[in-house]
């Protein structure tokens, strides 16, 4: 039985932003359905006892929880490395100092682009969001906790990549992550406007590779590419039920963020079961763990220990069956589904730019 190393704690689905690529599920948990402080305290302790080393406190916007400092303290007290994944919106310097004092190790700050207007465009954010992010980055550097800048990139902002890199160089964090959107949840609904062209993608990779070289020794540059253009799928979650465990705001334990979209999977809840019971016995974790479940061509493929057959949620979203080989794989019989999407995206467009569908903004659950 593999041991989990990472606990992704989705503390809430509430968030003041409305990102068009948000990875939260379309059905969100409301405030009155969220786990209380004591439950999170128990969850982080059980995670540490299971061998987990690091926890990502995320959401939604984790800062929307008024008890965040207590949860950070409990996680650090249990021996975990604590990261906060945030848009930085509802934060001031005093609260950040409090969080650092409680044991916060690292803050990951997300950006919608390199320009002030991007936050409004892609996250329907209020004015001032941009300035606020820059302030948060400064504070984090001053108090000497880890800082990652996270830029989510897609068709409508990928051309500003050099500006994003310049901003990153100016802020000089330990780590910058450029994440091409992955198509689940809200991003799946907005895919037609988000998926870059092949030309955009190739150019972005060239720029990223040279930035990685240039910043070596100063900032670690990491990037995630959209796998619709890849030959083989990504090793989703580094294998189902293998490295990571996600606990959703209401306490459901998930093998992958997007797993609630898969019909027929029953999730166990941390209110009723210990993390160990869930990790070892939950039907949802066992369903796609290891190689037993694999269909052909994965079952006899030489890459199955490297990518675990790809992403189950993507197989469901694209081909209607979570137990198929990930359709982005060039060996999958369903690859033509992805090829059709890719060629529609790259079809030459004469004259007027085509009318793009309106964004579907992610709402804020009350």
């Amino acid at each position: 039985m593999p041991k989990p190393l990472v606990l992704i704690a989705e503390l809430t689905h509430r968030c003041p932003l409305h990102c068009v690529y948000c990875s939260n599920p379309r059905e969100m948990v409301r405030r009155d359905g969220e786990l209380p402080t004591e439950a999170w305290t128990r969850v982080v302790q059980e995670a540490a006892a299971l061998g987990v080393l690091q926890t990502d406190l995320t959401g939604g916007e984790p800062l929307a929880r008024t008890d965040l400092m207590e949860i950070v303290g409990a996680a650090r007290g249990a021996g975990l490395y604590v990261s906060l994944i945030t848009s930085g919106a509802p934060l001031d310097e005093r609260r950040l100092e409090g969080l650092a004092g409680a044991g916060l190790d690292h803050l990951q700050l997300s950006f919608q682009g390199a320009r002030e207007e991007n936050a409004a465009q892609f996250a329907n954010a209020s004015a001032g969001t941009w300035e606020q992010k820059l302030r948060v980055a400064r504070w984090v550097k001053q108090i000497r906790i880890g800082l990652t800048l996270n830029f989510v990139i897609h068709r409508e902002n990928v051309d500003q990549l050099p500006e994003m890199i310049a901003l990153g160089e100016e802020i000089a964090p330990g780590r910058i992550e450029f994440a091409h959107v992955q198509y689940y949840g809200w991003a799946f609904a907005n895919r037609a406007r988000l998926l870059p062209t092949r030309e955009q993608l190739d150019r972005s990779l060239e720029i990223l590779k040279s930035a990685e070289e240039r910043l070596r020794g100063r900032t670690r540059v990491e990037y995630i590419v959209p796998d619709y253009y890849a030959k083989y799928p990504k090793a989703c979650m580094e294998g189902w039920g293998r490295k990571a465990m996600i606990v959703a705001p209401g306490g459901d334990a998930l093998p992958c963020h997007a797993a609630p979209a898969i019909p027929g999977l029953a999730f166990d809840n941390v209110r009723e079961h210990s993390l160990r019971e869930i990790w070892e016995d939950s039907a949802a974790f066992r369903r796609f763990r290891g190689e037993e479940w694999m269909p052909e061509p994965c079952r006899s493929c030489d890459r199955r220990a490297a990518d675990f057959g790809g992403c189950r949620c993507q197989a469901y979203l694209l081909a209607g069956d979570a137990a198929l080989t990930d359709p982005v794989c060039s060996r999958s019989p369903q690859r033509p589904l992805v090829d059709a999407i890719v060629s529609a995206t790259n079809a030459p467009r004469a004259g007027m730019p085509p009318a793009m569908p309106d964004w579907v903004y992610r709402p804020n659950p009350s």
Binding site: L5, Q54, Y81, D105, H106, G146, G174, G217
Partner: protein, 92 residues
């Protein structure tokens, strides 16, 4: 980059060892963890911003008195350079 002998290595912001009572010992950093064995742990424990690279080498040469001193120095310089490239270490 070869570290300078008088520089004082210190773990970068967001990087720390787990606690002594936790096993195995690891160097924790944003979104990753590096498992440390005997000598690598002893090196990382000395990257506290007070010792110079030269001091760390001398202490390690004493600790591993049976090993070829030149080899110990090379290994340490290589390891510090690697940690720096991973952004786990600053030289002050």
């Amino acid at each position: 980059m070869t570290p300078e002998m008088e520089a004082r290595p210190r773990l970068a912001p967001g990087c720390r060892l787990n606690e002594a009572k936790q096993q195995p010992r690891v160097l924790l950093m944003p979104e990753r963890a590096l498992r440390l064995n005997g000598p690598s742990l002893e090196i990382v424990e000395r990257c506290d911003g007070t010792r110079t690279v030269r001091q760390i080498i001398t202490e390690m040469q004493k600790l591993y008195a049976k090993a070829e001193p030149q080899k110990v120095e090379q290994d340490i310089l290589g390891y510090l350079a690697l940690l720096h490239e991973e952004r786990a270490l600053d030289f002050e």
